[in-house]
Symmetry: C2
Subunit: 222 residues, 2 copies
């Protein structure tokens, strides 16, 4: 068997960026603050979204797009809270793209949304190469993953606006060195905002909620 | 800009399988038992390899191929133990492939190796689609990732010979339900062997070492 070598990367990314710009225009038109949430599997994306819905739903109208390789486990948890949610199953794909998000937007009640969470596929490598039309990128890193992860997955840590450092309740039982982690992160991304949090105990979430309300408010003003 | 749609998947996977068969033939010729270790970021691949080297190095001649998007952090840890190690940096690629492993094999002292660990890139989605020439696939899942991961990343859990369930020392501080996890796993992969372990405390590792010595011995007999 012979191997065809075809360079598709530029075309794929270029087409994705065009589609992402269209998504962003649409979301801007409705004043919807959109956040692309990325992390490795099990770092706490869904827990964060659920905690945020419970805290802010009386003040902010929230909707969610859930991205997963398979299953609708997470979407069902969001749906149980009565929040509009669309599940995207990538059928083996390791990241969301702007085309998938475009389809999901067609099924959401855009005029009744202030804040849209897009929960990306759990993966520290590919998702950050594909813009979706988001205003902000929020990455969740969790203490059990270890403080060396910025060295091993630099693109993801370099290309995010906010890092939520989750599962700080486990610090007493781990060798995680928060100073080493912050040093590695700021070497890649000097301007990133880091919020240490625990979705389990609620520690640190007040600062996250405050940041989020501010960016939602700023978007409405535009 | 127009988008070319090109189906390259079959060619890529077909060529990879051919190359993987060549790698396997070569490793078979030298009687080297080869293990492809896969997990999400921070689940404990390197810790497992280091613990295993320390325990078995007097009885088994070990070598390691380290796969990472970037950095040689892990390879340096293995090298510090005086074990032959080759670092593969994928430069953004989210999995190893047989071609990368072929190149690494050219730089290893094959006649002096009984057991080769290939530490794949930390990712629960893409690595399992690319065979490398391995005898066994070992997946590490860790308790902090949550007991629902088999539903969300089914291909990886379905397509492994062994699952090491790591970080059991954290059980008292987590909501991880081991029965739910095992039920989900065996639904996808009825014949898989699960070893609950803690690389930190050493709990459960005796069973893993015993399994490993047996498969290395079996390979030598062939």
């Amino acid at each position: 068997m012979t191997v065809k070598v075809i360079t598709v990367g530029e075309d794929i990314l270029g087409a994705n960026e065009e589609k992402a710009r269209n998504n962003k225009s649409k979301l801007d038109k409705y004043g919807i603050l959109t956040i692309n949430i990325m992390s490795s599997p099990g770092a706490g994306k869904t827990s964060l979204i659920l905690s945020t819905i419970k805290k802010l739903r009386k003040k902010v109208r929230i909707a969610v797009i859930e991205g997963d390789v398979a299953s609708s486990v997470d979407a069902e948890k969001v749906n149980a809270l009565g929040i509009p949610v669309i599940q995207i199953n990538t059928a083996g794909g390791c990241h969301l793209d702007a085309n998938m998000v475009e389809k999901a937007l067609n099924d959401l009640p855009l005029k009744d949304i202030d804040l849209l969470f897009i929960e990306n596929v759990g993966n520290l490598i590919c998702p950050n190469a594909f813009v979706l039309g988001e205003d902000q990128r929020v990455m969740i890193a969790s203490l059990p993953e270890g403080d060396d992860k910025p060295y091993k997955y630099p693109a993801m840590f370099a290309d995010t606006d906010v890092i939520l450092l989750n599962k700080i309740d486990l610090q007493p039982y781990l060798d995680f060195n928060a100073d080493n982690f912050k040093k590695a992160v700021t070497g890649l991304n000097p301007d990133v905002t880091i919020f240490p949090i625990s979705c389990k105990t609620g520690a640190g979430l007040t600062a996250w909620f405050g940041w989020l309300e501010a960016v939602v408010r700023d978007k409405k003003k535009k």
